[in-house]
Point group: C2
Chain length 469, copies 2
């Protein structure tokens, strides 16, 4: 949220004169993005989109609001964070809370049985904003999902690979992806003797192990949630298991967990996945971590969450997802299920880091040529030259001052890092020429009206600005 450079920080609203109106406010937890932010944001979105496209993903878009009933019963406790629209007659609507439920609704409505799609769009949560934690009420998500009946773990492996490609492509430091399986967690609970009705709440205690020591989590489980201490101790022997994927698999082999029917299937799936990730040369980015729980109810298989390793750069999850095979079916009565697996990139955290590390000095406009008056007005002539450049696809501008001083025009070109200047005056018009200055070298050449556009285009093509996409 950059304050534009040209802005002077006068508090207009507080001045005594006339109106006395308050300055307008922006909604809590929402942000304006000025040109400097937008350059970083667009560049980052392009990096992400390029990865999605490289994997053959198609793009879809859905409305910012859904029928209230579409969102109901999908988010558990977090449903209270949904933004409702006012009842103004007609349908009851709410702003989308994520891109996953609208995707499932899209698949159900349009009877799409298989698709590999990405969706980059804003979602809305009436959460308590926290600028330091990068939590807003309106924020972008970048989702990549594969829907359809496919061979075991093949789509899952590709989604995992996509996460690594994105996190490798955005320069935000080293990361690790924790990976586990929802059925493994359920089996763990079961063999440790956690009562069925406590599965969810004990899960959310376990999920805190990345921030709190075991003793604190155990205390919460036993004292706050009434878990038997012997059960908690049994849980401990499992949730501390984490590390290199194949090593943890080996570690679990032959144990009570490996013998549990559902866990056995989950471990076989994970073993297959690790093979595939090894084939894709990215297994080193993954840790098999039995303490990973993930909050959302709709996951049915694989789950994963990426975190940055350098806490000085940023903390918390920067990408997360998993398999959700039953969500589409919630929308389709007698219809068949559409199994899905996907990931949501926490792009706002990545953007905050990108802006901090890489923002600031970038150009915010694309002008390559400033068309200047040598003296006097020359407005019509300047516009004529601009139009010739625009027609040729060259980014050009002229100052919107009828009789500009050369000094002002030069300042504008230097401020905006515009590399070339074309100067037109009465003399040049008469002779059918223009003067072209290269501002970095201060070289000046006189070119005929018939050739200057082509010459400039060649110069520009030979030296593309690094800010250009």
């Amino acid at each position: 949220n950059d304050a534009p450079k040209k802005a002077k920080k006068e508090k207009a609203g507080k001045k005594g004169g006339g109106g006395g109106k308050r300055l307008p406010k922006i909604a809590k937890g929402a942000r304006d993005f000025g040109p400097a932010s937008m350059v970083v944001r667009e560049k980052t979105f392009k990096i992400v989109t390029d990865v999605f496209k490289r994997h053959g993903a198609e793009s879809i878009d859905t409305p910012v609001f859904e029928l209230k009933e579409t969102l109901t019963g999908k988010y558990g406790e977090d449903s209270k964070l949904i933004y409702d629209l006012a009842d103004q007659g007609g349908e009851l609507l709410a702003l989308r809370y994520d891109l996953t439920v609208p995707f499932a609704r899209y698949l159900a409505i349009n009877n799409v049985g298989n698709i590999k799609r990405y969706h980059i769009a804003r979602v809305y949560r009436r959460d308590e904003p926290s600028l330091t934690r990068g939590r807003y009420r309106e924020f972008y998500q970048c989702d990549f999902d594969i829907a359809g009946q496919y061979s075991s773990m093949m789509p899952d492996a590709e989604v995992c690979k996509v996460v690594t490609e994105i996190l490798d492509a955005v320069p935000i430091g080293p990361y690790q992806i924790k990976i586990s399986h929802r059925k493994l967690l359920d089996a763990m609970m079961s063999i440790c003797g956690v009562p069925d009705e406590k599965f969810r709440t004990i899960c959310s205690s376990i999920d805190k192990l990345d921030k709190e020591p075991w003793e604190a989590v155990k205390k919460e489980m036993c004292e706050l949630k009434g878990l038997d201490e012997a059960v908690a101790d049994k849980i401990e022997q499992w949730v501390v298991k984490k590390g290199r994927p194949f090593e943890v698999l080996e570690d679990v082999k032959g144990t009570e967990l490996a013998a549990h029917p559902a866990a056995k299937v989950a471990l076989e799936e994970l073993a297959l996945l690790f093979e595939y990730l090894d084939g894709m040369q990215c297994l080193d980015k993954f840790d098999f971590d039995l303490s990973l729980a993930r909050g959302l109810d709709y996951y049915t298989g694989l789950i994963y969450e990426a975190v940055l390793l350098d806490a000085s750069i940023g903390v918390g999850s920067i990408a997360a997802g998993g398999r959700y095979d039953d969500l589409v079916g919630m929308f389709k009565g007698g219809g068949k299920q559409v199994p899905c697996v996907g990931v949501s990139i926490g792009i706002e955290r990545i953007l905050a880091i990108m802006e901090r590390l890489h923002g600031g000095s970038t150009r915010t406009s694309h002008s390559q040529v400033l068309v200047a008056s040598a003296g006097g007005s020359m407005v019509k002539e300047r516009f004529r030259v601009c139009a010739e450049l625009w027609k040729a696809g060259v980014c050009a501008e002229t100052v919107h001052t009828a009789k500009p001083k050369m000094q002002k025009q030069l300042e504008r070109a230097l401020d905006a890092q515009i590399p070339y200047m074309i100067v037109v005056g009465e003399d040049e018009v008469e002779k059918g020429v223009v003067k072209v200055k290269t501002l970095s070298t201060k070289e000046e050449v006189t070119l005929s009206r018939s050739e200057y556009v082509d010459v400039l285009k060649k110069w520009i093509a030979a030296e593309p600005m690094k800010e250009e996409e």
Copy 2:
């Protein structure tokens, strides 16, 4: 709103079996966009964005909702179409109705005195949806505005030029831009003897002259709105004036209107603008039309509206805008005004035409290579090859079937118009090679694992797919 090709039109919700749930609905007046629509939409947005960038415009973004009070009193009668958010405690919010008021609010809050910016985003109106007229409740606008104190008509001329460049760039047929001046209209009313309190309502009658004959409009003015018939007759002599800009200027010269002080200034401004548009080689696209009124209250000077000439392609305004010098000041008490001029491109109508004329046969994914198994599973090996291609920036995919038949893989490549196929089998792995097929020519070559990526990259670079951006 394309139904994805793979979709089978079975009505899942109407089947008898089990659940009996209704299929979910989408909000009235809103749309899903499938991959084929998205290709056309993204292509069109890029054309528009390229024009904006060519003119050195910067990009900004604002939240989808504003404080209710920010939107209050800006849209006149149309305020009833604003979507309010429910009062869930905290601020009262509403969805943005256009991009102009949020832009003015942005300028006021951030104390931006001058900026040339574009903004492509969705706006929301609780209007009666009309699919045939391309009217939706959620739709995109593409706005380009220049804010700041500049020499007369220079920013105005550039905005007009931008409109012509965009409408020339999107292949939707011939168009014309009607142009006039708000102050001229007010002066016309005044000298004809329209009472002050009837200015607005008579204006909106005049605005119908593009769809209705003079007699119908006169009847509305006199019978419905109680205008004196002599006054109506006087109006007629003015509003019928339209045509080539300099000719209409000439026509008006020496008349009562030209002598009116405010009209005199407006005519001088228009004369200057026409000179500039002539310099920019686009004056032929403009008609000076004294019947142009434009609904919104906030215009203070130049107004314009672009229409398609070929009614078989589409009807109605496809771009409109004008000068609004007082809007930012509505947000700033004692602060100084920030004069603005801008245009809003009616991109949904353009998109509807583009989809009709140019949609359908485009590719929706970017895959250039399908990595196939020669027989047996080869999943890990296929993923390994994919990963090598992805790393090199090549768009590649493999079918997510553990033991795919060659025929199925070939069908996928042909369906998705993927030009190359890499085939790996036990034999190839052993020899350290891959087979590369060019599907259009059915040629097949065997390449070593160390060279195939570079060879494919060269082939792809030499023959870029026309669907690529």
